[in-house]
Amino acid sequence: MTEDMTQYPLRLEGDDAPMIRFQNVTKKYGDLTVLDRLDLDVAAGEMVTIIGPSGSGKTTVLRMLMTLEQIDAGVIYVDGEPLTHMEKGGRLVRGDAQHLRRMRGKIGMCFQHFNLFPHMTALGNCMEGPVQVLGLSKREAEERALELLDMVGMAEKRDEHPSRLSGGQQQRVAIARALAMRPQVMLFDEVTSALDPEVISEVTSVIRALADQHQLTMLMVTHQMGFAKEISDRVVFFYDGSIEEQGTPDKLFDSPDKERTQQFLSAVLEAT
């Protein structure tokens, strides 16, 4: 598929430029179109939550931002620069490995199943990126890791391996690990879905503190509607590969315009 790339700006400029922009982004798996010409902006410091039925493409949005998935059309911008593409001779071409590595440094991600490195302690997990990627000294990296482990309430478990930690504890370490890279954008992909109900609040309270105290831009996919309503600046409802409706949490949860949104929310509320 050849696409006319001249329709996309080489970079986003101006004070009102978003931290993240999806412009006309399409993602397909074979014949299946997961995302269909998606346009979505997220402002710097904004907390946006994506909700929607499974298979609606919401996790794909985060995975494309983390460069875990390639896109089939369109351009994603992060911090004013194209993420999926790069400028070459005055036009946009696919980003090469080096470009992706540079851009990836702006983004951190937490996963549904934590994905901590099992052969490293909590501290080791949090030091790995800073030492191996950012080139920090062991001492600097340890200092930074301990500060973050303390923030997520895991300083005492610093020397434990993931197998000795509960799901909630592992997820908190995973958040500290991602933050240790000092990203500008944090992605939370169903971070409470694999947790026992009684430990969900450990994790949500950490995210809440992050949203309150830091200037991070955050994009979250969740099924915790109460949490989404309370914490988000904006909620986006995905349906079948595109945005069906978006708005402030109060608007979207209390008086949604679209029928599909109403149906989804009443189905979810009934289940909980």
């Binding site: 875990l68 996963f111 052969h119 391996h161």
Partner: protein, 221 residues
């Protein structure tokens, strides 16, 4: 001649042969590990020709007899200008042969590390080499240790064939004693016991210890 007398007379030769077997085994094991690692990782490479080279190596060494390989390396290669000392030819060939089996263990273990680990390593922006070396291989190592325990015993037993290119290992000494004395039961019986002791009470416990140590290091001990 009683068995005690037999041991008295030929003990020294058998001990010398045993030491040679140990040396051949240790070196062959090192060659096998190195070859398995290289070929196993090459099999996972995105470039087709790289995978192809690994496949040729694996097929060649797995698909033919170790004894023929030994003869090839020791007797036929010199015809092409490559002369190896019998000691080197011995452990190198045994190592390469079992390395071909090990390559499949490496490939399988790396492939069975959960996808989430690759993704987390990528999300942390680790370079491809560091992803493999620091995140994936340590986990793959733990997964493949038990089958490597088997392979190590196979390597030990495989070294007996180097006797046939005149490396003076345990099997070689046993054959020498046999042809000089016709005390077949004593000569080969002792060799049998020594191989068994070495495999059962040295190689296997060592591998088990390694498994336990590694399990403990990831907090599963």
């Amino acid at each position: 001649m009683s068995y005690l007398e037999f041991l008295n007379t030929y003990g020294e030769a058998l001990i010398g042969g045993s030491l040679m077997t140990v040396a051949q085994f240790v070196l062959a094991a090192l060659v096998a590990v190195a070859a398995a690692l290289v070929a196993g990782l090459m099999k996972l490479a995105p470039v087709k020709s790289v995978r192809g080279i690994a496949t040729v190596y694996i097929e060649l060494f797995r698909g033919t007899s170790l004894l023929v390989q030994l003869y090839w390396v020791f007797f036929a290669l010199p015809l092409f200008g490559v002369s190896l000392h019998k000691f080197t030819a011995g452990f190198l060939t045994v190592g390469l042969c079992f390395g071909a089996y090990g390559a499949e263990l490496v490939r399988g273990a790396v492939a069975s590390v959960p996808k989430g680990q690759w993704e987390a390593a990528l999300a942390l922006n680790l370079s491809p080499a560091r992803r493999m070396w620091r995140i994936i291989l340590p986990q793959a190592f733990i997964i493949m240790l038990p089958p490597w325990g088997n392979l190590m015993v196979e390597i030990l037993k495989g070294t007996a064939l180097v006797a046939l290119i005149s490396v003076a290992d345990l099997m070689f000494e046993a054959r020498q004693i046999n042809s000089a004395t016709y005390l077949s039961a004593q000569a080969f019986g002792t060799a049998l016991i020594l191989y068994y002791i070495f495999a059962r009470f040295t190689v296997t416990p060592l591998m088990r210890w390694l498994e336990r140590t590694m399990a403990r290091r990831i907090g599963k001990g």
